[in-house]
Structure formats: structure tokens, C-alpha cells
């Protein structure tokens, strides 16, 4: 399954998902009471040690910082420009700490386990007459639709390329939307024919 999850059986993989989620939630609340840069730096080091404890593959996960770098540079420039470097450093270290800590949970938890850990949150849906299982079915549908849409788009793009020689065009968006919408209609009918989403619980 497509996910940021990293295969493994380290100590962090063995901690229950709910516990890890709770830890990050509490940490985020606690960290906001702190305004000392040193405390943040220590927390950041602890989080980095967690990644290091997963070995080389764990450290490779730090590649997500590349996606953040654009904003971090912007943030640093902004604070440098307005002479609030200390606030800037605080913001950047806090951001790094929280993003890396939360990402550590994602990296060491399978999506199924994550789903199982948050499933109780959907229980109140039953009070308004909705099956909590629908959320799970929704997630499954999204995970199946997404790669299928890429296939549909790939076929359109090849046809476009064969006819025009150019690689890509915004003009493909509309036929792509219509073709994939038809596919979703078929899925809805197939689901209905099999007894619908509620039929799953039987």
C-alpha cells in the first residue's frame, strides 16, 4: 500500500499506534507552553535520535525536510528582514521538532494500525444513524481510486502525445474528469448491486 510507512520491527514499530499518537498530541500541547530555544533544541535532538535509532533507513526519512526547506528559508528571510531572529529561530526549531516527531509516528506505524487506532473516533457516527464502517470503506475507495485515476490519465496522455507530439496539456483535464467520473458511477452501481455499504457489515 502507498504510504510513508517504513518497513521494520524496531522498538518504535512495536509501540501501539494509539500510544504514539497520544504521545505526539501531548508533546504538541506541552511544547506550546515553552518559549525557551534550548528546550526546543533538546527536543529536536531527542527526535533526531529516534530517527537514528531506526538505522540508516530511518535517517534517510529525514528527506522530508526537503519539502519544508522552501518555507523555512522564506521564514528565516522574513525574520532576518524584520530583525526578529530569535523569534525566527524559535519558530523554525519548533516547526522541525513537531513535524519530525509526528512524521516519526507515520514512519513507524502501518496505515491499517493507524486506522484501527482512530476507528473509535467514528463511533459517535452511529448516534446519527451512520455506519462507522463507512469511513473505513471511504478510505479504501480513495486508496483504490487514486492509482486508477493515474492509469486513466496516463492513457489520455499517450493518446494526446500520439496525435499532437506534445507531452501534456491542460486540455486533458476535462476528458480525464469525465472518464474517471464514469468509472466512479460504475463503482457506485457495483456497490449497490452487492447490497451497498451496509451489506458489508452482514
Amino acid at each position: 500500500m502507498i504510504s510513508v510507512y517504513l518497513q521494520g520491527d524496531s522498538w518504535a514499530h512495536q509501540v501501539p499506534a494509539g500510544l504514539k499518537l497520544l504521545a505526539v498530541a501531548l508533546a504538541s500541547l506541552a511544547l506550546f507552553q515553552v518559549t525557551s530555544l534550548w528546550v526546543y533544541l533538546i527536543c529536536l535532538c531527542v527526535v533526531l535520535l529516534c530517527y537514528a535509532s531506526l538505522g540508516r533507513a530511518g535517517l534517510a526519512q529525514l528527506k522530508l525536510l526537503r519539502a519544508l526547506s522552501f518555507f523555512l528559508v522564506l521564514l528565516a528571510l522574513m525574520h532576518w528582514y524584520s530583525d526578529t531572529l530569535h523569534d525566527g529561530a524559535l519558530a523554525i526549531v519548533r516547526l522541525l521538532t513537531m513535524v519530525l516527531a509526528a512524521n516519526f509516528v507515520s514512519v513507524t506505524t502501518r496505515m491499517d494500525d493507524m486506522m484501527a487506532a482512530v476507528q473509535p473516533l467514528f463511533r459517535p457516527l452511529a448516534l446519527v444513524g451512520l455506519s462507522p464502517r463507512k469511513a473505513a470503506l471511504g478510505v479504501t475507495l480513495v486508496l483504490r481510486f487514486a492509482p486508477h485515476m493515474l492509469v486513466v490519465y496516463g492513457m489520455l496522455r499517450e493518446a494526446w502525445r500520439a496525435r499532437t507530439g506534445s507531452r501534456n496539456s491542460w486540455r486533458l483535464l476535462a476528458p480525464f474528469a469525465i472518464q474517471s467520473l464514469r468509472m466512479s458511477d460504475n463503482v457506485a452501481e457495483a456497490l449497490k448491486a452487492r447490497g451497498g455499504a451496509d451489506g458489508l457489515s452482514a
Binding site: S28, S82, A102, S106, V142, F145, L181, A197
Partner: protein, 184 residues
């Protein structure tokens, strides 16, 4: 909730996800600011599905991302990104889709093109920024004005997406009218 609604919601959630996989583009007149297709999906969800289902589709998308799927623009995934400078924008996404759906409904008499353009501009820019800019100020430890300056760099790209969303909505309304659920 009918099964068809569930499939529609999942469909648009997946569309937002797939648009997140489209590589960012850089245009000469927008400078170094990356333009991603993700919010185009948010706009379309609201425009096509209406307020409630549109917002639910975006919530489902965010949920799948939070579970760990790398569907945020730039191949990012996991709930870590709610803690980053773009966290406010993510929280604004479902509200943006909801607003876009409301506008779509309120402007029923107008042509789909005009109506969808208004919906995309209000839901996809105004509402999302109303959440995104304070979020950015909060996480970046800076004033609202500064956060707005940084976020402002993304507006030209968003205007392009508004035009695309309107064109796509109009094309779908012609080619597959039943898919424009917000007006059925």
C-alpha cells in the same frame, strides 16, 4: 447517506490526492513560488458536489493523508504536515470546499462558468487563506501582515486554478450533466 454519495465523496477525495501528485510548476511571472494543483481539487470538490458532500470529500482526503498516504502536494504524507506552516491551509481546505458549494448553490441562475469561477475564487482562495494566513503567522511566529505577504505570492497561481476549475466545471456540465451534483 446513499452509497452513491459515498462513492462520489471518495472519488473527489481521490481527485484531490491525484492532483497533489502533479509536480509543482514554476511560471516566470510568479517568481520562485511553486504552483501545485492540489487546491484545484478542493475547488472542484465544492463546485461539483455542493457544500456538504464537497466538505466531506475534502475531510476524507485529509483523513487518508493523516493516516500516512503521501497525497499532499510534493509527495508529503502523514499528520505531521498539520504541524507545519501549511497546517492552517489544510484546516481551511474543507471550509473552502463548503463555501464553494454554497456559492454554487446561491448562484443557481448564472451560467456554470461564471458561477464556478465565483465559487472557486471565494471558496478556493478567500476562505482557505482566511485559515491559512493565521496558521502561518502562528507556526512561523510572525505577524499576520508578514504571513499575508508570504502567502500573497501564491495568489497568482490560485487565480490560474480558478480559471481552470471554471473551465473544467463547464465542460463536465456539458459532457456529463448528472455529475454536477451541486445543482441537481
Amino acid at each position: 447517506m446513499a452509497d452513491r454519495s459515498l462513492v462520489q465523496i471518495a472519488f473527489y477525495a481521490a481527485l484531490v490526492a491525484v492532483l497533489g501528485l502533479v509536480p509543482a510548476i514554476y511560471l516566470p511571472w510568479t517568481g520562485p513560488v511553486p504552483i501545485t494543483a492540489q487546491t484545484l481539487g478542493i475547488m472542484l470538490a465544492g463546485i461539483m458536489l455542493g457544500p456538504v458532500r464537497g466538505a466531506l470529500a475534502v475531510l476524507l482526503f485529509l483523513f487518508v493523508v493523516a493516516l500516512g498516504a503521501p497525497f499532499l502536494s510534493g509527495g508529503r504524507g502523514g499528520f505531521a504536515w498539520f504541524y507545519s506552516t501549511s497546517g492552517g491551509f489544510l484546516i481551511g481546505f474543507p471550509f473552502g470546499a463548503f463555501a464553494a458549494g454554497l456559492v454554487m448553490r446561491a448562484t443557481r441562475e448564472l451560467s456554470v462558468l461564471v458561477s464556478a469561477a465565483m465559487a472557486a475564487a471565494i471558496g478556493g482562495i478567500l476562505v482557505i487563506y482566511a485559515f491559512g494566513v493565521p496558521g502561518m503567522a502562528f507556526w512561523g511566529n510572525m505577524s499576520l501582515a508578514k504571513a499575508a505577504t508570504i502567502a500573497g505570492g501564491f495568489i497568482p497561481g490560485d487565480v490560474i486554478k480558478v480559471c481552470l476549475a471554471a473551465l473544467i466545471a463547464q465542460t463536465i456540465a456539458r459532457g456529463l450533466p448528472s455529475a454536477l451534483v451541486s445543482r441537481n
